[in-house]
């Protein structure tokens, strides 16, 4: 299993490789794209500049560094595109080939079809936005040239196992392992992450006695940030249209992005993934600080080391050690389970 770590700056490449990343992925918002679509609709699902490169020359340098260490770099283009964007996308793809990117992470069926015709990249990964919930969908994408499928967050261990068994190695599988356990299905969610002010500076920062003054821009009418973290006031009605005021039906209390502000983690499932022939373990959050990315990569590397060292260990022992490592790394008293990517690891019968 390979660890796929996120990066957004050339300076992050070597520290991440040293921390244990086997593969890297990143995004880019070229200037031409920015002028037309701003940060509202980037080439990928991470709107905003902190998560993306802006210059091909920087990306090229980062890729060269990674290649020197035999680490492949994939570029995320997992937006859902419209006709007017295709000519520019074609141009960007050619540039990405020029800077020697190893492959693309995509979600749009139109882009997949275009890449199939262009025959530029051999490595085409279908991101979570491709909504591959079953083996038939995985095989469907394979027919059009996909080499790897990144499974959606919303699958149980049993369902992942079923997909893996049925495709029997015809296409590689990758799973999410750390961070951003978004409640909504990636490929079916049409909320905009970037609906807030545009964080790109329009003038240099000013340092004033340990305080910084920043100048940014926003578009009239834009507000709120990611819609799934907005705090909604709720009114509940039954199916006869009668308002329920006294009693809240179970489970309708929260729709919250981050249930406990804990590190979302699926590391305990690595024991099962190892047996399922899962190719990649994806760490999310390209926009996070480098310290956080390094810590995450080291954590997953250490979990893989546990697996490697104790090959004959039982699942229970593995989970115990992994949970201890998680608590030690992220400074928690115990693993609460609320931020668990694959809770069915503990109770396989939960989803039956």
């Amino acid at each position: 299993m390979k660890i796929l770590s996120p990066f957004s700056k050339k300076e992050e490449v070597m520290p991440l490789i040293e921390a244990g990343a086997d593969e890297l992925y990143c995004g880019i918002i070229p200037e031409e794209w920015e002028n037309r679509y701003s940060a509202f609709d980037t080439l990928n699902r991470r709107e905003g500049y902190a998560a993306n490169f802006s210059k091909f020359s920087d990306l090229q340098y980062a890729i060269q560094l990674a290649h020197r260490e035999n680490v492949r770099v994939f570029v995320t283009m997992n937006g859902l595109y419209v006709q007017q964007q295709y000519p520019l996308i074609r141009k960007i793809i050619k540039k990405l080939k020029d800077v020697k990117a190893d492959g693309l992470i995509i979600a749009d069926i139109g882009l997949l079809l275009m890449l199939q015709r262009m025959k530029i990249f051999k490595e085409i990964h279908i991101g979570a936005g491709g909504t591959t919930f079953n083996s038939k969908t995985a095989i469907f994408y394979k027919k059009f040239g996909a080499s790897r499928i990144i499974l959606p967050r919303h699958l149980t261990i049993n369902e992942i196992e079923d997909i893996s068994r049925r495709i029997s190695g015809k296409v590689h599988l990758e799973v999410f392992i750390l961070n951003t356990l978004c409640p909504n299905v990636d490929g079916f969610c049409t909320f905009y992450h970037g609906m807030s002010f545009d964080k790109k500076a329009i003038a240099p920062e000013i340092d004033l006695k340990n305080k910084k003054i920043k100048f940014t821009k926003f578009y009239a009418g834009s507000h709120g940030g990611c819609a799934c973290v907005l705090r909604y006031s709720k009114r509940i009605f039954d199916n006869r249209g009668k308002r329920i005021t006294r009693q809240t039906p179970s489970g309708t209390k929260k729709i919250k992005h981050d249930r406990e502000n804990r590190k979302e983690c699926g590391a305990c499932a690595i024991f099962d993934f190892n047996k399922m022939n899962i190719r990649g373990l994806k760490i999310v959050e390209r926009g996070a600080k480098i310290e956080s990315k390094i810590r995450d990569t080291k954590f997953i590397r250490a979990v893989l080391d546990i697996l490697k060292k104790e090959d004959n260990s039982t699942k229970e022992k593995f989970i115990k050690k992994t949970q201890k490592l998680y608590c030690d790394t992220y400074k928690y008293d115990k693993c609460s389970g609320f931020s668990c990517y694959y809770p069915s690891v503990f109770h396989k019968t939960l989803h039956k």
Partner: protein
């Protein structure tokens, strides 16, 4: 001629079907646990026969369990020579229909017809100039200057992936001649050549997002430990929520695992014809 269809997600809503509708949609787009059972399908098909209604079976995105349940329905439809439409929201199911069920007519569902559905787009497009603002964030002071949105961005928000020729050709190769879309607040730019695709417009509810971590139906277990895909008691059938936030220009409706907006402003007949919309699919309630 605009065909009028009604979409019901529950068999008890058959009472809402009146003579003005020529087609009945039945099924679920958002949850495989709501796939109709075979006896329900039989009842619906026989109801359509009796009332001379055309029939469309709506299917969700599915795991293996969903595929098995759908195959039972497809087999029955094939064996009984019922040539109905199947609304597809999963490419695996599209493949399956094309390989094994040639009598069934696939239609691209609205989960696969990509549109820009965030209701806040409406605000962005109608926005009046705003003042420069300022806020403090830890040890930072941030000045934010308003700017006019780029024109390309505004026209982009009205687009859908069915305008892309390469996608239309792909759909044709998979026997798809109809696509389903939502009625967006910001309007729609549909540029579909004649005899290429027909379009169905869903009114008044448009979906915004959906999940499998269903907040209508989570932790029934006594220990609230897990946050994953949980047991289902179909509470989604019992409740509907109105969600309000000052940053959201409209009320959002949550039914089960899905959020919807409501837009009752239907484009005029001329506009519909221009956009190749020849069917209106009326949803009496958010279809869960």
């Amino acid at each position: 001629m605009i065909e009028k269809a009604i979409f019901i997600a529950d068999i008890s809503n058959l009472k809402l079907v009146t003579s003005k509708y020529k087609r009945l949609y039945f099924g679920s787009e958002f949850c495989e646990r709501l796939i109709p059972r075979l006896n329900e399908l039989r009842k619906i098909v026989s109801y359509c026969d009796r009332n001379k209604l055309s029939f469309s079976l709506v299917t969700p995105y599915v795991t293996r369990r969903g595929i098995e349940n759908l195959e039972k329905l497809f087999l029955w439809l094939r064996n009984n020579k019922i040539n109905c439409e199947i609304i597809i929201n999963d490419y695996g199911i599209l493949d399956l229909i094309n390989e094994e069920y040639h009598t069934l007519q696939p239609v691209l569902g609205r989960l696969l017809t990509k549109q820009k559905r965030d209701p806040r787009i409406m605000d962005l497009m109608q926005a009046k100039p705003q003042r420069t603002t300022f806020f403090k964030k830890r040890n930072e002071y941030v000045f934010v200057f308003p700017q006019k949105s780029p024109g390309t961005l505004l026209s982009f928000f009205k687009e859908a992936n069915i305008n892309v020729p390469i996608i239309r050709n792909f759909l044709k190769s998979y026997r798809i001649s109809r696509v389903e879309i939502d009625n967006l607040f910001q309007g729609m730019n549909l540029r579909i050549p004649k005899h290429s695709l027909s379009v169905s417009l869903y009114v008044p509810y448009g979906y915004i997002t959906t999940t499998r971590l269903c907040s209508a139906n989570p932790f029934r277990a006594k220990k609230r430990f897990f946050c994953g895909i949980s047991f289902c008691k179909k509470e989604c059938k019992k409740y509907i929520l109105e969600l309000r936030n000052k940053n959201m220009p409209v009320i959002i409706y949550q039914k089960g695992n899905t959020l919807f907006f409501e837009n009752r402003k239907v484009p005029g007949k001329r506009e519909l014809v221009k956009k190749r919309i020849d069917r209106l699919v009326y949803q009496p309630e958010p279809p869960i």
